[in-house]
């Protein structure tokens, strides 16, 4: 199971790197989303995978009856998903605004903050 998940993580990261190398801002964001998901699966895998044993203590007992899945990675993933969701939502809004303001979705053409030396010389300010 771990080997399969490791392969999945590898495939996700490969796809995300490919997307992030793109010059289009939306593809870059998709790459980031995939990367974020790959990391979440990695957290799950790192905590060891166990089938069908939710870490819940039955009523009236203090400890679970049988071996259960490790709850800590799940808590970590939940936190990571929550944070990742917030950051990506913000990044999306920012990109929409940025594309509107800059008039391009091409990351290489976004040079408002760092004008090329020759462009700055030509453009009278």
């Amino acid at each position: 199971m771990e080997a399969l998940l490791a392969l999945l993580i590898g495939a996700l990261v490969a796809a995300s790197v490919y997307l992030m190398l793109s010059r289009h801002v939306v593809r870059f964001l998709f790459g980031l989303v995939l990367f974020s998901n790959a990391v979440n699966v990695l957290l799950l895998t790192a905590g060891r995978v166990r089938w069908g044993a939710p870490p819940l203590v039955p009523e009236g007992l203090e400890v679970p009856l049988e071996a259960v899945a490790n709850p800590l990675p799940q808590a970590l993933i939940l936190t990571a998903i929550v944070i990742g969701f917030g950051l990506l939502a913000f990044a999306l809004v920012l990109s929409v605004r940025g594309v509107d303001a800059l008039g391009t979705a091409d990351l290489d053409a976004m040079r408002a903050a760092e004008p090329r030396a020759d462009a700055a010389a030509k453009e009278p300010r």
């Binding site: 913000f90 809004v93 605004r97």
Partner: protein, 133 residues
């Protein structure tokens, strides 16, 4: 965009989603659920309403700025942490009182804070996106 079907359905669905979100938040106490997912469900309701009626209608319905909702949530979460300190325990210590219906404690207050932060934050983002157009 205005569609009769969407805006009629949205009215019903928003109420349902809000109710469901509170149920999910309270359920999170002992079972899957919780403040984050509850807040998201509630925010989905408002997002639906934004699509049906536009950002202005949602602002009018909400009455207060969604960022203030998030601020209120932050206050709840912080209070949940500081009650522990005030009671002479450590920060974020869970404290409980017995009620006839069950135990109520600071973790619930914290969850309510998360609910409000998520609701306020996501609605603010959705409104920002909508008003951009």
């Amino acid at each position: 965009m205005s569609s009769l079907i969407l805006s009629t359905a949205a009215r019903l669905l928003v109420a349902l989603l809000l109710l469901f979100s509170i149920f999910v938040m309270l359920r999170g106490h002992n079972e899957p659920g919780g403040g984050f997912i509850g807040g998201l469900i509630a925010a989905t309701g408002f997002a639906l309403y934004v699509m049906a009626e536009g950002a202005g209608a949602v602002r009018a319905v909400l009455r207060i700025d969604p960022r203030k909702v998030a601020g209120l949530g932050l206050a709840c979460a912080l209070a949940a942490g500081l009650i522990g300190v005030a009671a002479g325990e450590t920060f974020l210590r869970g404290l409980w009182i017995e009620l006839p219906s069950g135990k109520v404690g600071t973790p619930l207050l914290f969850d309510l804070g998360v609910y409000l932060v998520v609701l306020g934050g996501v609605v603010a983002l959705v409104l920002a996106l909508e008003e951009q157009r």
